[in-house]
């Protein structure tokens, strides 16, 4: 039982657990694929056909492939934001509403600067700032409610999601309605110079890709390499002890919410400037909820989250292809469902094994 501390031991232990982790996740993915195939067989569909058309739907052409990336962008940004709150032990269920608020503020900014004659790229920049402010504002609310009102952030977030969506609908049918008819299909489109241009021959704007990469790298570095990230983790695991160790927990809770809101707002602005060009009732496209799923699946690990987000984006873009081929369009949903189920299951089994070790 002699045990001398040795410097060389740290990395090797780290490495080992990372590989075990990877193996576990891979097992979950394989199990999910097997079970989805089983369902397909039971439903008398051809599993291989289905997978093939998903792959084709996602990667068959440049347009399709770039659509996958374009849908990966908001997802990875949303997930990155959620990694901050998750690390701090917070369930930011209000993510979807924060993206919606980002979109609302972005569209609002375009309406203000529309006629000013300012340089379009400056206007776009200001609109992104506005979107970010909207997201931060909406994210700080559940944070403040939690800290000063004792309201659990899950309930706060759920309520604020609802309020954000209602506010968007009110704007669409009220103050911001199209001249002539108010319509659920959204507000008037922003002018062409304000839309982010696609790379020729693709469905993707280079600007948003760069933003997404910056956000993902920033998140990974902040969470894995800085004192900030370590302190957030400490708070997430035991906020009482973290406070006694000297971490100002309240400030870090708010910072986590604020950063998450910042990314939500940016995601909202991206959806407005590169996808929808207007405010629609479902301005978040469900990216907030999907982001929660991804963050949980990767066990809050930033690098894996980029990979899994890509997988989910491919699945949902590829899934549209299935509809044309007359296959079950719920395929992606079934696969995603199984994935979550098996990751949780396999993780539970691992925990049991570890305590038995």
């Amino acid at each position: 039982m002699s045990l001398e501390p040795r410097a060389g031991q740290t990395p090797s232990i780290l490495k080992k657990s990372t590989w075990i982790d990877f193996g576990i996740r891979l097992t979950a993915v394989i199990l999910a694929l097997v079970f989805t195939s089983l369902i397909l067989v039971i439903a008398k569909a051809q599993p291989l056909e289905a997978y093939k058309s998903i792959l084709q739907g996602a990667f068959g052409t440049t347009i399709k492939f770039t659509s996958v990336i374009a849908s990966w962008v908001p997802l990875v940004i949303a997930t990155s934001g959620l990694l901050f709150t998750f690390t701090a032990g917070l369930w930011n269920i209000g993510m979807e509403g924060q993206i919606v608020m980002g979109a609302v503020f972005t569209v609002g900014a375009f309406r203000i600067f529309d006629e000013t004659g300012l340089d379009p790229s400056l206007v776009i920049f200001l609109a992104f700032l506005a979107g970010a402010a909207g997201g931060i504002f909406w994210a700080l609310l559940p944070g403040l409610m939690k800290i000063y009102g004792g309201v659990n952030e899950i309930f706060g977030g759920l309520g604020l999601n609802f309020v954000a969506k209602t506010a968007a609908i009110w704007l669409i049918f009220g103050p911001w309605k199209r001249p002539g008819v108010a319509s659920g299909s959204g507000t008037e489109w922003i002018d062409i110079p304000f839309r982010l241009p696609y790379i020729p021959g693709t469905n993707l704007s280079l600007t948003i890709l760069i933003i997404a990469i910056i956000v993902a790298v920033f998140t990974a570095i902040m969470l894995k390499g800085t004192h900030f990230g370590l302190r957030l983790k400490a708070i997430g695991k035991n906020d009482k002890a973290a406070y006694i160790l000297g971490i100002p927990t309240t400030r870090y809770f708010l910072l986590a919410f604020g950063l998450c809101g910042l990314f939500a707002g940016i995601a909202g602005a991206i959806l407005v400037t590169s996808k929808q060009y207007s405010l629609i009732p479902d301005a978040g496209f469900g990216y907030g909820f999907l982001g929660l799923l991804v963050a949980m699946l990767v066990n809050y690990h930033p690098i894996w989250s980029a990979v899994i987000a890509f997988f989910f984006a491919a699945l949902s873009i590829g899934n549209t292809e299935l509809q044309y081929m007359g296959l079950n369009s719920y395929f992606a949903g079934v696969l995603q469902g199984f994935l979550v189920l098996f990751v949780v299951l396999v993780d539970g089994v691992r925990k049991r094994l570890v305590t038995k070790l």
């Binding site: 039982m1 002699s2 045990l3 501390p5 040795r6 410097a7 031991q9 740290t10 232990i13 780290l14 390499g225 800085t226 004192h227 900030f228 370590l230 302190r231 983790k233 400490a234 695991k237 035991n238 009482k240 002890a241 973290a242 406070y243 006694i244 160790l245 000297g246 971490i247 100002p248 305590t355 038995k356 070790l357």
Partner: protein, 487 residues
């Protein structure tokens, strides 16, 4: 029930926590288990109760080989354990806590269970009301509750891992009486402790562990020096009493009043000098904790003022106190002091002040290795805090204290430490007093209080005694005050 361990081996990575353990505990005895911190005591007990599986070896219950694969399994076979760090107690009533552990029936028979609790409670002279809420019980009462629950489930073997920290002298007497009674009824009791006099008083046989091995079994009459020698391989001396108390007052409390939902302390006046050590004695829950937390800014006094080095700190928050050089070491180490799931290195990074953005892993690991060496922590920089043995967690907690401090507030600082470590830790703390650091601490061990304090405050039901000179008082005198006599 007779228990027999045969060639039990348990490894954690490179650590051989149980190294070929062979011994037998006859039925109806109280078996003592002694050993230094990290010797493998808790591990063996966890193997016996199915928390861990041994890597090799066998356990025999009444001469039958058994496989115990989970704690529920162990209880089914008649083995119950009281843990070193009590598991979470959910906010529920005593009776529901009982019902939770039962297997049978969708509709439990509450009336019957209630009767059972009352009967058992009377049998052992405990005062536990089935309808009170678990969270309102003191540590000692929770322990009684857990014993009752296990007996009610029909266990034949009762394991207690360091059960006497945090309970009052009175509760301890009751506990010992209960254990003796149970043994006389044929139950087997396993008693893990660092307190030699308790083991000597209670146990009919003792097994001593060192570095994962069973180094010997001892029968009465016991010889304390022999135990110490078996545990540490050398004899251990308590250092002479030393004092570094200066005549310079540093902290001044004026007419402090404190209140929580149970307790009220009135008009406390005290000066704490540089380098002084003040011990707080009293039954658990008599106000010592409120007093300590007031000195850290975690608890706001309802009246009076706190002066630190001439500055008024009344109403300031904990971070302000911390900046001024105040440190707090809580008793519930895994709830308030340490962060389960994080490594030793991560703890040391968090405990220091850092203004740069990036973590310097290299220097963090170096610092951690230094502290591991300095505090003899059995573990590596990458060890998660909950993987350390109880005593080593306590050392980690002490090692986290920053370098330059003016005031250290500690609840049960040597809780779970073996004798040698306790002596050594106190010598380290006293070193700090030389540099004008003051210490205020609580302990349920009166010898410890008298040995290391300059002055002592006794707490009793909301009353606080005048400071008592530790050199002229005795355990008896303090005991009287703690029990409410002589006020």
């Amino acid at each position: 029930m007779k228990i027999s361990f045969q060639h039990i081996n348990k490894w954690f990575g490179k650590v051989h926590a149980n190294n070929d353990i062979n011994f037998t505990i006859p039925s109806g005895t109280i078996q003592g288990i002694l050993g230094e911190n990290g010797a493998g005591k808790s591990t063996l007990m966890k193997v016996l109760t199915g928390f861990y599986q041994a890597d090799s070896g066998e356990i025999f219950l009444d001469d039958k080989a058994v496989t115990i694969s989970s704690p529920e399994d162990a209880v089914m076979m008649g083995i119950g354990m009281l843990h070193q760090d009590p598991l979470d107690f959910p906010p529920m009533k005593v009776i529901d806590n009982f019902l939770l552990g039962t297997r049978g029936g969708l509709f439990p028979n509450r009336k019957q269970v209630e009767k059972d609790i009352t009967r058992l409670s009377q049998e052992f002279d405990f005062q536990i009301n089935p309808d009170s809420f678990v969270e309102t019980l003191t540590v000692g009462e929770r322990q009684q509750l857990e014993i009752l629950r296990l007996l009610w489930l029909g266990v034949k073997v009762l394991i207690l891992d360091e059960p006497t920290t945090g309970i009052s002298a009175n509760q301890k007497e009751k506990l010992f009486a209960t254990l003796l009674k149970l043994a006389s009824q044929g139950l087997t009791v396993i008693f893990v402790s660092h307190k030699l006099e308790e083991v000597e008083q209670l146990c009919s046989r003792v097994a001593v562990f060192r570095q994962g091995q069973l180094v010997g079994e001892v029968m009465p009459p016991y010889d304390t020096d022999q135990f110490v020698y078996m545990m540490f391989g050398k004899s251990v001396e308590v250092a002479d009493k030393s004092t570094f108390r200066s005549e310079v007052p540093y902290i001044k409390l004026e007419n402090i009043s404190l209140e929580d939902y149970r307790l009220r302390l009135r008009d406390i006046n005290l000066e704490i000098n540089c380098g002084e050590v003040i011990g707080l004695a009293g039954m658990e829950g008599s106000g010592q904790r409120l007093f300590l937390r007031m000195l850290t800014g975690l608890m706001r006094p309802v009246g009076g003022s706190i002066l630190y080095g001439g500055h008024n700190f009344t109403g300031r928050t904990y971070p302000v106190f911390q900046k001024a050089g105040v440190a707090y070491l809580p008793a519930a180490r895994l709830e308030e002091g340490l962060i389960p799931g994080m490594t030793l290195t991560e703890h040391f990074i968090l405990s220091e002040e850092h203004h740069e953005l990036f973590v310097n892993q290299k220097s963090a690991i170096d610092l951690t290795e230094d502290r591991i060496r300095e505090f003899y922590i059995k573990g590596t920089p990458a060890s998660q805090i909950e993987q350390l043995s109880g005593g080593n967690q306590q050392r980690a907690l002490l090692a986290l204290l920053r370098n330059k401090l003016r005031l250290i507030l500690m609840e049960h600082p040597t809780r779970g430490l073996d004798i040698e470590s306790a002596i050594w830790i106190w010598s380290k703390m006293k070193e700090r007093c030389k540099d004008c650091t003051s210490i205020v601490f609580t302990s349920s061990d009166l010898d410890e209080i008298i040995q290391y304090s300059d002055r002592i405050l006794v707490f009793f039901g909301g009353l606080v005694s005048k400071p008592i000179d530790a050199d002229t008082t005795t355990v008896d005198e303090l005991g009287q005050l703690i029990g409410g006599k002589g006020w």
